[in-house]
Symmetry: C2
């Protein structure tokens, strides 16, 4: 099958190619009746503008890029990314933008991908995940002047637009809830050190523990995988003064922790309370159902995409605060006995 072009439409409508372009793009320069006629013909023959020709003429490529820098092992397990992507897609589809996805092995590769995308003019902008403290990607994107929205922050985002959620506040709410239940020995299994949100949470955890007078509150760093959740939980529950409550930085590690407690013959929530960050459907699948900190991740993705599309359309970079995660108590939290 031959793809129809604007030349075909122009011939059928008896006008120039320029007129077709103006009509299809809603530009002034054609009469309303001509525009309608041209649009009717385009629809009828199933015309879609060649994206390469369009991009080559200086128009946007109508694609945005998302590079994911996580080992395949943890990527598959994290409902977070797929939920984020569905939200991003919902927004992009509405605007007929495509999503170009790339899984990378490390930060250097990720930066190389941005440089390549920029050079190839393949995407009009990018979404940045897993912001790090002093993230090397930020100055590169500033230099390239490639429109970018950081999903994370605040802070360490340079002059880039960002969409963030107040993790510190969510953690404070959780700690106060556990303290109100009577817990005095609370531990945390955190995410990867160096990630900004890990550091933010750790700082908030330490501060609130001090304020509440919890002496032995400490964080163990982990990599979000079930294996690491298992390992960290075993270590915590084997210590002489084991915690009566553990807060996990994602739900996968929390589920792993729950299984470890059951294996060791501890009752949950009787002997151990568990709180998970990220309230994916997984949390309601296990028994007992997990108490979790959740928020609308697809909406977070949609907001990020919308911010990026605005940026591409010429808006100035800004910060947007999304909702704060809310605690949903379920079956894994109770007063210590």
């Amino acid at each position: 099958m031959k793809r129809p072009t604007i030349a075909d439409i122009a011939r059928q409508a008896g006008v120039s190619k320029g007129a077709v372009s103006y009509a299809l793009n809603g530009q002034p320069g054609v009469s309303e009746s001509t525009r309608q006629r041209i649009i009717a013909i385009a629809t009828e023959i199933g015309f879609n503008p060649n994206s390469a020709a369009r991009a080559l003429s200086g128009a946007p490529a109508r694609a945005i890029g998302l590079a994911l820098c996580r080992p395949a092992r943890t990527l598959g397990m994290e409902p977070f990314f797929m939920e984020l992507i569905s939200g991003v897609e919902a927004e992009l589809s509405a605007m007929s933008f495509a999503l170009t996805l790339q899984v990378v092995a490390n930060a250097d590769d990720e930066i190389a991908v941005y440089r390549r995308w920029w050079g190839e003019r393949r995407v009009d902008g990018v979404l940045i995940c897993d912001l790090r403290v002093d993230d090397p990607r930020v100055p590169v994107l500033e230099e390239l002047q490639l429109p970018a929205v950081v999903i994370g922050g605040p802070g360490h985002t340079g002059a880039l637009a960002h969409v963030w959620s107040d993790d510190a506040a969510a953690l404070v709410e959780t700690m106060e809830y556990l303290a109100a239940l009577g817990h005095r020995r609370i531990a945390r299994v955190g995410g990867m050190p160096g990630l900004l949100h890990t550091e933010t949470r750790t700082a908030a955890f330490d501060a609130v523990a001090r304020r509440l007078g919890l002496a032995e509150a400490s964080t163990i760093g982990a990599d979000y995988s079930g294996e690491d959740g298992t390992r960290a939980t075993r270590r915590l529950l084997s210590s002489p003064q084991r915690p009566t409550a553990i807060v996990y930085d994602n739900d996968v590690m929390a589920i792993a922790g729950l299984a470890v407690a059951q294996e060791m013959g501890l009752s949950v929530p009787g002997d151990l309370s568990i709180v998970a960050w990220d309230d994916s459907p997984l949390c309601r699948l296990v028994h007992p159902a997990l108490t979790a900190l959740g928020r609308d991740i697809p909406a977070y993705g949609s907001q990020s995409a919308r911010t990026l599309l605005d940026l591409i359309a010429g808006a100035a970079p800004a910060g947007y605060q999304a909702e704060t995660a809310r605690l949903t108590p379920r079956g894994t939290t109770a007063p210590p006995r």
Copy 2:
């Protein structure tokens, strides 16, 4: 920053733009010394060919498309897709191909996406998931002559290339294992009816049950979500002659089923044996760990991508059989008591 073009390289090297193109693409037409000089300059100034210009000149767009037609709710939960995507990416990255992802709401939208991608010349080929019986996508892709690899089959793939795994054989192995343990009342919670692999598995299930003389073997259709897994399991376990073993078509539903059994005070595997299809890390997170049918999903994705790249390069469409899923017995299967 201005993007460097072949004109910049040509000027610096003192040759024509054509010569630069030949040199960079490994075509004959330039001497080896000129080629080396040109490549050195290109590397030094960080040249990347403008993908739009390239595509407009008839070269491949160097991108493939993947449209996912699942509700956001089940998408986020299914480790399968992210694992498949990491495998696809591994192959594409090596060949500097991009992956264009689109989440669609239904089959009609998905077909519209393929027509648009074809018209826009946005992708060089597509990967098709969730093959249905008499799938309407197949004739459309044949008509468009858009290179396509169906992840699924065999059968119902028309003249399209496909990569498949023998689900019937895997199910037979599972049933024989359960029968050997002494189970006589085996039920199955299946995937969406109409999906080819659901139908294949159902047919195999019925056939092997008949052969083994299991009278009450029946399948309940579900949608892969935890909620449906919960609902189906409750129904099965509330029946007067409840099954002593249940086979689930994915791991998410199996985990939901495990929680239902625990809630109802049944011991697993004492009162109920459970087998999950898809052996993601989730299966080892719960307690007891799930007996599961697993195979290397990233490798399946890589093979599919490789088949598609071959097709784009001009190979004839063919069928490729990937490994059959293997049963890994863990803590949820035992003789009925």
